[in-house]
């Protein structure tokens, strides 16, 4: 069941993006595994196995979602803040100012933070909570890329994203998670 352990949580989340309830998402995932078994012989290894499984999953989930009359515009999954700045503009001087658009307050130096704090339970909680507040597609891209270590190509294929979309979603997601960590680490500082 290793493959199930590895992929099932992400499969459920992705299915849930397209269908209305967790129960339906579970059915979609089940149907996907059966589709995987049926199609395994035709799997040609042109993509990774997990990418191929997610293609099957998203096809089934989208069809199911359409049948439910649930058609979601890309923006509702991706979020409407893709053009928002990665860093609060007030952190920079104006372009006409003395540092010509440079930092008005430097970011903190994190190099002195001990590993056990940076990677400790509380920090990971902060990251998890930050990811949970992201629009679903941003959350899934950062989870697959940074938490599960998928390549950009795998994520693009699995979630049916263009190269630009994948990068922009990852950029927004990482910027917000970094921001959450910054708030947490600076409030803990002294």
């Amino acid at each position: 069941m290793t493959l199930v352990d590895q992929l099932q949580p992400a499969m459920l989340r992705v299915a849930r993006m397209y269908v209305s309830t967790t129960a339906v998402a579970e059915e979609v995932v089940q149907e996907t595994w059966l589709g995987v078994l049926r199609g395994l012989q035709s799997f040609e290894g042109r993509s990774s196995l997990r990418t191929w499984i997610f293609r099957i999953l998203t096809n089934i989930a989208k069809t199911r979602g359409q049948r439910e009359g649930r058609s979601l515009p890309f923006a509702s999954l991706a979020g409407d803040d893709l053009d928002a700045p990665a860093v609060d503009p007030s952190r920079f001087d104006s372009p006409e100012g003395s540092s010509r658009g440079g930092w008005s307050t430097l970011p903190d130096d994190w190099s002195g933070i001990p590993e056990d704090r940076l990677l400790g339970h509380e920090t990971l909680d902060v990251i998890n909570r930050a990811i949970a507040t992201l629009p679903p597609m941003q959350a899934e891209v950062i989870r697959l890329r940074d938490a599960l270590g998928w390549t950009s190509e795998e994520v693009r294929n699995a979630l049916d994203l263009t190269e630009t979309n994948q990068r922009v979603l990852l950029h927004r997601a990482r910027a917000k998670v970094r921001g959450a960590l910054e708030r947490y680490l600076s409030s803990e500082a002294t």
């Binding site: 089940q30 990665a86 994190w110 990677l119 938490a147």
Partner: protein, 80 residues
């Protein structure tokens, strides 16, 4: 060579830089800005630390009920 990047512009290029998708000329501007800017060097280090910390997250355990349902489906499939 074009004008220099501002810090505000650099932070928006960081994902393209880390992904290796920005063009060579842009990469050179990025790196020469970085070499002279403590703020952006720290920002990049923060981003790398964020990615490393996110990399230690683990998935939730798959509940046993879900596995039981799946195993039953797999078993049925094999006997068809």
């Amino acid at each position: 060579m074009g004008r220099d990047l501002t810090c505000k512009e650099l932070v928006e290029l960081i994902t393209g830089y880390l992904e290796g998708t920005i063009r060579a000329r842009q990469r050179r501007r990025f790196e020469s800005h970085l070499a002279a800017c403590d703020g952006c060097t720290r920002y990049l280090a923060q981003m790398e630390a964020t990615i490393r910390a996110t990399g230690t997250l683990t998935e939730e355990q798959v509940p046993d009920e879900q596995k039981v349902v799946l195993l039953a489906a797999f078993r049925n499939w094999r006997t068809i």
